[in-house]
Each structure stands twice: as C-alpha cells, then as structure tokens.
C-alpha cells in the first residue's frame, strides 16, 4: 500500500492528495455556506472558539495537501500558482472567500429579498430591507433636479442632440477630416452651449425660461462634466506647451498658472467663484452661477491636465524634435503633426485619470447651492417625509457614478488600443 507522507505531497501521490485536499476544502466551504445561508452550525459539537476556526483549519490543510509543483493538471497548477503559493497566501485566499460568502446573504436580503419597491410613499416600506420606493418616487428629481416635470423632454432632447453632434466626427467626409480638431475644440463646444442654452434654459422660441438654480440631478452632473472636460483639455495642452516654451514670459505665466491652481483646494475655488468673484464684477454685469462654476472647475482641472500632458511631451526622445526641425517644420507644425500626436497617445491613461477625478469632483458644486446627483440626494434625505433612507440614496448614486466612470475608463482603454503603434 502506498504510504501517505502527510508533510510532502508530490507527483506520485498526487491523486490521493488532491482528492483528500478537495474533500477537506469542500467540507470547510459547506460549513461556512450552511452557517451563512441556513444559519445552522454543523460543528456545534466542537468547543466554542474551535467552531469558528474549524473551516479555516480544515481548508488550510486541504490547500496544503493540494500544493504540488508541476502536477501536470492544468487547473491545479493554475490554482497553485495564483492563490495557493504558500500557507500565508492560502490563508488569505480562504479568509477572503469566507468573508464574501458570509457577507452575501445579509446584503442580498437587504438589497433584494427583504426590499420594497412598490407603492409611492414611505408607508410602503414595511420590510427590514432597502426601500427602493424612495428611489422610485424621487427618480425624476435625481435625474432632473428641480426642473419642472413637464419640461423634462427639453433636457432629453438637448442631450440627444449634443451626443449626436459628438458623433459627427465619425461620419465626416475624408476631405474634411483635417478640420476635425477645429470642430471638436471650437465649433462643437459652441454648438453644444447654444443647444443647452436655448433648449434647457429656454426663454426664446416659445420655451419658458428655467433658472439654472432649478437645474439639478444627474443631468446637471452631465452638463458640468461635459463642459469642463471639453474645455480643460485644450487649455491644459496650451499650458503644457507654454511651460516648455523658450520664451520666458510665456513659460513663467504657465508655471504660475499651474502651480496656483494645483495649490488651492477645489472647494475654495468654488466658493470664490460664487461668493467673491461677483464682487469684483461691475454691477450691471451678470454671469450665471453655473457658468462661473464651470469656468472655475475648468481652470482648476486644466492645471492637472497640463502636467499630465507635459509628462507625455517630456517622454518623447529629442530625436523626434530634431527630425521635425530638420525637415523645416516650425514650432506649430512640429507640435501639431509630430509631437502632440505621439505625446497625447502616451498620456491617455493619465488624462483618463484626471477626467474621472473631474466627474467625481462635480458633487462639490453642492457647496455653492447647485444640486447635482449627490446634491439632490442630500436634499432628499432631509425631506421630512422621507427621513432615514440615506443608505439607499448613496448606493444608488454610487452605482450611477460607477457606471459612468467605468464606461469612461473602458473607452480610454479602447482609445489606447486603437492608437497603439510600435515604437
């Protein structure tokens, strides 16, 4: 009979060991699962503290027995290489696994099984779980803020128009392609501004005027992020080039700009833009609060963009500049055709990073009284009729923000893959 060497599993006794090991792990999993889902303790015959540790110990022994180098079994090798390299990693693996299993039933029952979504008032929420009725009732507010219900179509139409205009670049004719950058940097923002101004603000063409103070919810998040994104990128590019300029005036202006905006917190900038800034303006000059906030965030993020882009510019070998110059290209031609296309490609991850941070910074505009998605939540949770549902609201907002940000990061990966060329 084959002797079982308990301490040293190897290729010869792989069968015995892997089977015994899997059985042990299975037992430990069954124990945890039954504990978590059925609330029964299979090992109640063991003394107190051992009951808790039982699955961990059994699982560890099981994993230890399965740890065979080059077993020849693909699944086993994969397992051993990634989560079972030594006893410590095996312990971590088990702990994480058990925590997930333990956390699953309560969160599932809170979010789904014990949750309510029917009805349209707080009384409908009788269960112990989440009250999605709250989200349902407030959904329009979360999306459109205080914007009058009967005009929501105006926001929708404006967004569809702006998105459609954004895709124009894809369908442009070949001979117009060279104006693409011009379109996206100058023409598109202007058109988008006009669309949003005339449709959402209204005031002409028989559309009723709606104050920006009434705007809010997710649509405001989109509006603020959209304008900040498209303006801060070209501005950042200008300052990145400026900081590397040979002309001292331009260089030091750029450095001052970047260091100033990087040195102040966004929340102070927003306060300044809404409280202090109007004091410096002539009395008859009026600039909307929303516009001021967008300008403030744009200027702020442009400084970050500038530094990211400068990193890309610096990583290009000097030979690229030499080659472009030797072909007779001046500063602008060199940068537009040779330097920037390469540098911008390199900084896609960094720019995506900055943009994601920007989108997640937008809730800060709450401090100046503009209620975008997170701001609406804060308003809703203090509504006397709906007290006590902050959790549902924040989970809802997290999911929405996560979807937006994940989509953006996926898009940036796509761009990276699309523009990848070998060096």
């Amino acid at each position: 009979m084959q002797t079982i060497n308990f301490l040293k599993p190897n290729r010869d006794n792989i069968k015995n060991y892997s089977i015994i090991g899997s059985i042990l792990i299975l037992i430990s999993l069954i124990d945890v699962i039954s504990n978590a889902f059925l609330k029964t303790n299979l090992t109640s015959f063991l003394p107190g503290s051992l009951t808790t540790l039982f699955p961990l110990i059994i699982g560890l022994i099981g994993l230890n027995m399965m740890r065979i180098d080059y077993s020849g079994n693909k699944t086993l090798d994969l397992l051993n290489k990634n989560i079972n390299t030594n006893n410590f990693n095996a312990l971590l693996t088990l702990l994480i696994l058990f925590s997930i299993i333990k956390a699953l039933p309560p969160s599932l029952s809170w979010m789904i099984f014990d949750a309510n979504i029917s009805g349209d008032s707080k009384d409908a929420c009788t269960g112990t779980g989440a009250c999605w009725t709250y989200i349902k009732v407030w959904f329009r507010r979360f999306m459109y803020g205080m914007y009058p219900n009967e005009f929501h179509w105006r926001i929708n139409t404006a967004f569809i128009l702006v998105i459609a205009l954004g895709f124009v670049g894809y369908f442009m004719k070949e001979n117009l392609k060279k104006y693409l950058a011009l379109y996206y940097v100058i023409i598109y923002p202007i058109i988008a501004y006009l669309v949003i101004y005339y449709l959402i603000s209204g005031g002409s063409f028989g559309l009723q005027w709606v104050e920006t103070g009434a705007w809010g919810g997710l649509s405001l998040t989109f509006i603020v992020s959209f304008f900040c994104l498209i303006f801060c990128f070209p501005l950042g590019m200008i300052f990145a080039l400026g900081r590397r300029s040979n002309l001292p005036v331009i260089k030091y202006i750029s450095i001052c700009y970047i260091e100033f905006w990087r040195g102040v917190p966004l929340i102070t900038v927003l306060f300044m833009s809404s409280v202090m800034f109007p004091m410096f303006l002539p009395e008859d000059f009026f600039m909307d609060k929303l516009v001021r906030v967008i300008i403030a965030i744009t200027l702020f993020e442009a400084a970050y963009c500038a530094e990211v882009i400068r990193g890309g510019l610096q990583s290009l070998p000097r030979g690229q500049y030499d080659a472009a110059k030797s072909l007779g290209m001046g500063y602008w031609k060199m940068h537009i055709f040779v330097i920037l296309p390469q540098a911008l490609k390199l900084v896609i991850p960094g720019i995506a990073n900055t943009f994601l941070a920007l989108v997640k910074d937008t809730p800060l505009i709450f401090v100046v009284g503009l209620a975008e998605l997170a701001g609406m939540l804060a308003l809703a949770k203090t509504n006397p009729k709906w007290l006590g549902f902050a959790m549902e609201g924040y989970i809802f907002a997290s999911i929405i923000f996560w979807i937006i940000c994940y989509a953006m990061s996926k898009y940036s990966y796509n761009l990276e893959a699309k523009y990848k060329t070998e060096r």
């Binding site: 030979g319 690229q320 030499d322 072909l327 007779g328 290209m329 031609k333 040779v338 060329t421 070998e422």
Partner: protein
C-alpha cells in the same frame, strides 16, 4: 571656382563651460562630398548639427546657401528645408506610415499637393528600394530599412545639401551595406553631402575631401587620396592606423 554653398568662419561653440568646437573654418562647394571622421566626443556631430542650426553656435559665422545663421535669422525653417538630415537613430515618426513620414513635410512645409507629394515619395522610396514597404509603420521595419526610409524622407524635401550624422552606427553589419549603397547612389547623383561616419570604405569610394577632427578642432583636411596615402599630422596617422 564657384562660391561655396556652406561657409564656416572662425566658429566657436560651448556647452556651458566646455568648448566643443574650436575655431572651425570650413568651405564646402556645391556637389562636393565631404566625409568627417574622428574619435567620439570630437565634435563631429555637433559641427554638422550647427549647419542646420539644431545647435546654436556662439561665435563666428555660418553661411548656408547665402544665408547667415544667427539668432537674427528669421526663416530658419526655410534654410532647414533646403538642408536634409539623416540621424544615427533614424528618428522616423512612429505614429505615421512610411509613406506619410515622407509626405508630411512636403505637404505641410512646401505646400505641395498631396498627390504630387505621394508620387515624389514613392519615387524616392523606390530609389532606396523600399517602395514595397510604403504602407507599413516604422516599428515594423528593420533598422536598415528604417534608415533608408529616413534618407528618402529627407530627399522628399528636395534639399540642396544632405547631412548624415553617423547613419550606419546603430545598424548591424549586414544592414550597413544597404544603407551605404543608397548613399553611394545618392552621391553619384551629384548631391552635396557632408557625412560623419567611421566607414572608411565609403569615404574612399565617394568622398572628395576628408576632414579629421579631434577635441573640437579640425586637425586635418585633405583630398581623399592624399588623406589616406599621406596623412600629415601624427594624430591622424594614429587614428588611421587604429581604424584601418
């Protein structure tokens, strides 16, 4: 004798406190081929980089095709467009195809119509025998092919002068030949060339004059045959004995 196309007089250049070029005097007539050799760090590359002002000199005059190069020179781009340059590291634009590498400058600097530029580029690529690679990207080509493309790219600007900065130093021996062949045929076409190289075979074959530099000075300047047969200075003799 015609007027020299490149004229350098009493030129001095410093990098910080370090003087790289000392009292350089050089005249190059049109259609002549000059080979510059010397040990590394002797200022050869810096010298030819001064000719299209990729490096700035501090003292003396450099006159290229009747234009003086100085801080006051306004249309430095115009002069550079007439002086092609080939680099040791090729310096192709990796984000553009081979064809686009060659047409970029003619289209945007010389305002040539796109079609004409493409025809010209294909023609030049054919001369260096890589017209079949026109739609590939630089990263997909071998070093020798990349360098030949760099030569074609410079020629697409139809320059009057070509500068070569150690064009074969980053290549392995088999590829050196294909690049040198391209340069030889260019030389036979009558181009004015200044070549920094260690390829003495190439110097013997095409050069009209050879310049030997050391420590930032021109030590010896002689006709090719004379240079190899009867080098005058001891430093040159030492160098030649090591390299040949």
């Amino acid at each position: 004798m015609s007027d020299p196309i490149i004229k350098i007089q009493n030129m001095n250049k410093w990098f910080g406190d370090f003087q790289v070029l000392k009292n350089i005097n050089l005249e190059v007539e049109a259609n002549k081929k000059i080979v510059v050799c010397g040990p590394s760090g002797s200022g050869k590359s810096t010298l030819i980089r001064c000719i299209n002002r990729l490096e700035e000199h501090q003292e003396g005059d450099i006159i290229v095709d009747g234009n003086e190069l100085s801080e006051k020179t306004k249309d430095i781009e115009k002069i550079r467009a007439e002086v092609g340059m080939v680099f040791q590291q090729f310096n192709l634009f990796p984000h553009l195809s081979i064809l686009d590498n060659c047409t970029l400058a003619p289209i945007w600097v010389k305002k040539m119509p796109k079609k004409e530029a493409q025809e010209l580029a294909l023609d030049q690529l054919k001369k260096v025998q890589i017209d079949d690679q026109a739609n590939k990207f630089p990263g997909q080509l071998s070093g020798g092919q990349q360098q030949r493309c760099a030569i074609a790219r410079a020629l697409c600007m139809q320059p009057k002068i070509m500068l070569f900065d150690e064009p074969t130093s980053a290549l392995d021996p088999e590829m050196i030949k294909e690049v040198l062949d391209a340069m030889v045929s260019l030389a036979k076409g009558g181009m004015t060339m200044i070549v920094v190289t260690h390829e003495m075979g190439f110097a013997k074959e095409v050069a009209d004059e050879v310049i030997f530099m050391d420590e930032g000075m021109i030590i010896e300047k002689a006709e090719t045959k004379e240079f190899f047969a009867n080098p005058k200075s001891d430093r040159t003799k030492l160098f030649l004995s090591q390299i040949l």
